[in-house]
Structure formats: structure tokens, C-alpha cells
Assembly symmetry: C2
Homo-oligomer: 221 residues x 2
Amino acid sequence: MPSAQRTSGRRSNALTRQQIITAAIDLLDAGGAGALTFRALSLQLKTGHGAIQWHISSKGELLAAATAAIVDTLPQPESGASARESVRTLAIGLFDAIEKHPWVGRHLANEAWNTTIQRLFERLGQQVQALGVAPAAHFIAASALLNHIVGASARNAANTLLPQARIDRQDLLDQTAQDWDDLDPDEYPFTRSVAGQLRTHDDRSEYLAEIDLILDGMIPA
Amino acid sequence: MPSAQRTSGRRSNALTRQQIITAAIDLLDAGGAGALTFRALSLQLKTGHGAIQWHISSKGELLAAATAAIVDTLPQPESGASARESVRTLAIGLFDAIEKHPWVGRHLANEAWNTTIQRLFERLGQQVQALGVAPAAHFIAASALLNHIVGASARNAANTLLPQARIDRQDLLDQTAQDWDDLDPDEYPFTRSVAGQLRTHDDRSEYLAEIDLILDGMIPA
DNA sequence: ACCTGAACACCGTTCAAGT
DNA sequence: ACCTGAACACCGTTCAAGT
């Protein structure tokens, strides 16, 4: 298992930044943001507490690096794809990634502008250009897409995450719809009226439909 | 200052849940989510650490209650207003509230479905009904509005919040635009091309324009 | 250059004890 | 019913000391 190793350290392989990030992602996926502690990390990596902090100095940096690692592996649009298809690929890619790693949504939705957000903005913006949006509307179009994609993905992930454990998706929908039926008719008339729609809805396709709606608004026929 | 007081406690006035929430909002506004601790609260309220927890048992409950308190005081649409105007009132109300209290955005964007979100959904949904949206599209229309309003407001608040301190808004825009100009032309062609638009843009009016865009998509002329 | 391990200054939560 | 104050089990961060 150990590859050619000639450095004279006390570890068979020196600890790398990448190893730390990979372990951090595992912890975050398993237990959410609360589960990411330097102590848990040092246990998993079989190293000292401060050794990790030599490579990554703060917890914030660690979370940012883990988020960047996920976003960097998003599926790339095919080279022959239309601009609209490319936006959809990016949008659904982030949606799925955030559903799988809810802490990514938390971070993207709430952290200040950073390199990861910057790169998402750039990728979306290039497609906005390709879509033929009027140049004066470039900024607002890319912003609208970014806001909606990140915001809706984060909220979806928050919705589907149960406090205790993840239960079957359809069970969750059915149970929530039941809760909605039981609400006070005077206070929640609308919510009660759409409880049935909740039961049969599909977050993912509705999310895509919303993206289409925004794209339609950007390029009037 | 003390009003008629006949209860035989050792405090002139008994500690109330409302007092705690008000103090919590002050702390959150002053220093963000990190500044809200039971210790800081007990100092401000001149009471013991555990006394607070008798009224509100956990930090999560405290944050949720503070968020609900802000959302409950959102400006109400005027009774004569059109459905479209009402949505805009709600949307801009939340935008402004989250810009003033960024931790509200953090909470709404990332917390699981709860009463506060439920009530926002209901209020938006009632206007969706009034707009004349086809019943089959009620659920998705209300979801799209909720997702966008909460998501975009949270991201805007994250953008305008500097790590250290808040500086003048225009200075921040100018400085960010300068940063964008300095980006690698090969890697960030789009971002560089819209740096000028960033300098003159107005988050608030663009946010409203995005809401209009979604409303337009919901009710085809 | 990389890692160790202890120390420090915090947290939220629990809980027996008071009034 | 309401509050106190101490104890508990955690945190992230810093840092002198090792190799």
C-alpha cells in the first residue's frame, strides 16, 4: 500500500492538505457542520490536533476548502451543448451536490463573496453571454441565476434534511402533507389548499422549471 | 421606572421571554451569530446563566424565536393593494430586514421547514392565488417566490457584510469592481466585462426586478 | 518543514439547591 | 414558579517544544 517513500518523517506518508479535506468532507457528510471538529479529524487521520492546523489554520478555511472541493467536481457541460443546456447542467449539478452535501448549501448561501462563488458567477455569466442576453443586462442576469440556484438548492436541502435521520423521501412528503392538512383553516387556507400538490411534487423538476422561467424572462422571444 | 410591582421575587420585574428575545436580537445585530451566547445574554439581562434557560431552553430555540420576531414585524401590504404590489411589499420587506439583520437570512435559508417559513409561504401563496395563477401551478409558484426571496436576500446580506466592519456601500462596490478588473483575463472574462456594471448597480432595485421577472413568468399575458 | 501535546479561554447544557 | 451557581463535557486556537 505505501508507495515509494523516502522522506524521513515519523509518518509513513506525510499528511497532505488534500487528505485533510477529504476526511473533512466525510465528517461533514456523516454528521453535518457540527461534526467537523479538529478532534474528530485528528482521530480519523491518526495524527495530532495541531498537526492539522499546521496545514489548514482555521475551521473557516477548512470549511471553505471542503466546499470548493465539492464545487470543483461539478459535472461540466458538454462542449457541444447549447447555452441553455449548459446553464441547466450547472444548475442541476449544484442542486444535486447540495442535496448530497447540505453543508455546501449552507456555506454558499451565507458566506461572503469568495473564490468559489466568484467562479460559479463566472461560469454562469459566460452562458448568459452565449444566450444572447443584452450586454446591459449581463450583470443582473448572472446575479439572478446565481441567487436563485444557490438559494433554492440550499432551501431544498434544508427541507429534505430531517433533524434526526433521513427517512424515505415519499414518506416525508406524505407526512408533511398530512401536517399541512391539519393546520388551522383560518390561518393557513393557501397551505392547506396545496397540500395535495406537495404530495405529488418533484423538487428537482420544479427547480429546473424555475430556472427555465428565469431564462425565459432573460431572453424575450 | 418600576411599575406597580407586587410579586415577591428578588428581581424588580420578573424576567420574561420577550425581554430575552429583545436582548438576543441586540446581541445578534451587534456581533452576528457568534455574539449570541448565554453568558453575554446573562450579563446584559443582569441575571444568571441558567435563569435564561428556564424560559428558553436551548440556543436553537432562541435563534428561532429571534428570527420569528423579526419576520413577524415585516410591513404588511396595504389592504387596497394589488396582489402584485403585495408580493413586492413582502419581498422588499424581507430583503431590507435581512440586510439589517443578516443572521435572519442565515436562519431562514438553512434551517429546516418551520413555523416562520410556513407563514411566509402562506402569505406569499395567498397573493399567488390573488394573482390568478392557475391552481395546478399554485404550489410551484409559491415555492419559487419563497426560494428566490429568501435565497437572494440571504446572499445579498452575505455580500454586503464585511468580515471586519461595515464600510461605506459605494466604497465597497468600487473596491470590489477594482478587484474584478484585476482578475486573470483568461479565467474570468465575463466577470471582468461586468465590473463596470457592478459599480453602478443597485442590489435592491435589481432584486425587485428579479421578482417581477418571476411574477411575469407565472402569469403569461 | 512538519508534528506533538499541553494550556487557554471559551462554549452550551445539566442540575441540585435555593426562595 | 422562578432563579442561582457550580459542574460537566465539550469547543477552536495558540504555542513552546520536539524531530
